[in-house]
Amino acid sequence: MHPALSVIFFTVASGSGYGLLFLLGLLLTIDPQSISGNEAIAAVALGGALAAAGLLSSMLHLGQPRRAWRAFSQWRSSWLSREGVAAALSFAPMLAVVWLEWRGDDAVLLRACGLLLAAGAALTVVCTAKIYATLKTIPAWHNAYVLPCYLLLGLLGGAAWAWALHAAYAPRVDVLPIAIAGLALASAWFKYAYWRHIDAKPAAATTESATGLGRFGSVRSVEAPHTEQNYLTREMGFALARKHARRLRAIGLMLIGVVPPLLAALACLAPAFGLPCAAAAVMSVAGGLFVERWLFFAEARHVVMLYYAAKTGTTQHA
């Protein structure tokens, strides 16, 4: 699949933004006193900005962005519509949290809003993952690994930002770096398992079943319907740089699963370097997520390419 930069930036930025908002919501639900009002407001601002930047970027992918409001209407059948609704609704508890923290009282309401915020943020990322995981036409996406990968990676991205924010507001050793190390390892493991899975997965269909001509023998394309590229071959037949997939996977795993735990360990050993370590973790995770998301699109093959007699279903490496 063609890796559109607008969609990659959207899923990375919004995923991390909603990850941060989820963590904040969870913290407010458990103990609203454990975080200062200013830090909570900053976290909402940062999470909201990341989410909004991602959503605006996703509008760039649309052919008719001015009609985007229509996407709120089909939540009964469409995960994309549900994502839009969940993403937009999550802004209500965000504003409520800011208002309550600014007023500085009412712990009960704050807990309730925190819960709503966590639920909205989690639901948005679930919807994002479901958009991809429900597409039967793309075997690399239509599997049980996609949803946990999106949730874990969103949470990791959000946790890295939360660490940086917390290091700036309350520079002391706490539980966040340890949580990040755990999340980073879990995310990398899941992503590795995802890659193992898609490499081993048998093809969803074959040129023989796509044409129904397999009963006569093996089917080979001798002439394509068109001599130039068309929309399908550009969008679904993306093959550029797939040969670098193996190296890019290693880079992604390094930035997601290896660098953040090392930075967390460094921060625990030398608390004075807390903020620089956290900032480096944010950048490492963001870079890793970008590589991971690029591969998520670029490595995925669409069954329609079977009509052009290209192999599908699994990924190939040079």
């Binding site: 036409t137 044409t211 006569f216 093996s218 002439e223 929309y231 329609v304």
Partner: protein, 250 residues
């Protein structure tokens, strides 16, 4: 509304006969001609006469070579027109976030409402048959309408109320009709010739059916045909031919 309507008794669609399709692309060209009429036709081209032309077509005609399994018989060429199958349970409809993509309750035709489409292209991702092509120029998704503006058009003569691709086919490899009616000509054709679905494992239940190539006289597509050796019985040939054979065999 992108929820699928309850199954309609009427299922308009095409039956495509792979036995007699000669791969002439007349269906594709006739479709382009009918649907590209004027500025608002659904088949826009970009850079049509330039170095890298790009355009929307609702018919794409592939050509395949089939190597028979475990035989030494000759390969078979099959021309394969690909277009929207107007599936009964298509994901291209249900994934649409705006309600632009819909399946008509009355006859099962799958259409795009160009005024509601936001151009997110998710429907094209959801289609395994490559039936939907996006127009960069318009920013909306384009797809086969089964010539809905012909088949119900009372200003046309009754014979002309068929999709343009069906009208144009010089070998009559394309048939249009109601596949929901077991007594219709197309349904009978499907029953008689063993018409089949493309990629049934996707679960989209295509309405359009394909008729398989008939067994070839040379045995291809039926059973293992032994390789034919050329043997010439010279004893029955004329003396002139025998003499020529002797000369040429030296």
């Amino acid at each position: 509304m992108t929820m699928l309507p309850p199954p309609s008794p009427k299922k308009l669609g095409l039956v495509i006969d792979l036995d007699i399709c000669v791969g002439c692309h007349a269906c594709a060209v006739a479709c382009k001609e009918w649907n590209d009429g004027g500025q608002f036709g659904p088949l826009p081209d970009e850079n049509a006469y330039g170095r890298e032309p790009l355009g929307v077509w609702f018919n794409r005609v592939h050509s395949y070579e089939i190597e028979p399994a475990e035989t030494t018989g000759p390969a078979m060429t099959v021309h394969f027109p690909r277009s929207c199958l107007h599936c009964e349970t298509p994901d291209c409809v249900t994934v649409c976030p705006t309600g632009a993509s819909y399946k008509r309750a009355e006859d099962g035709i799958v259409l795009v409402d160009a005024d509601k489409c936001i151009g997110c292209q998710l429907c094209a991702w959801a289609c395994p048959y490559g039936a939907r092509e996006y127009s960069q120029e318009r920013g909306t998704m384009q797809k086969c309408t089964l010539c809905v503006d012909r088949i119900y058009n009372e200003t046309l003569s009754e014979y002309d109320r068929q999709p343009a691709c069906v009208m144009a086919c010089p070998t009559r490899a394309r048939h249009f009709g109601d596949l929901g009616d077991a007594e219709s000509k197309v349904s009978k054709l499907v029953a008689e010739r063993g018409g089949y679905d493309l990629m049934p494992e996707m679960g989209y239940k295509p309405v359009n059916k394909y008729l398989p190539p008939r067994p070839r006289r040379d045995g291809c597509a039926t059973q293992a045909a032994p390789a034919r050796e050329e043997k010439v019985d010279l004893s029955t040939a004329s003396p002139l031919l025998r003499w020529m054979d002797r000369i040429l065999s030296r």
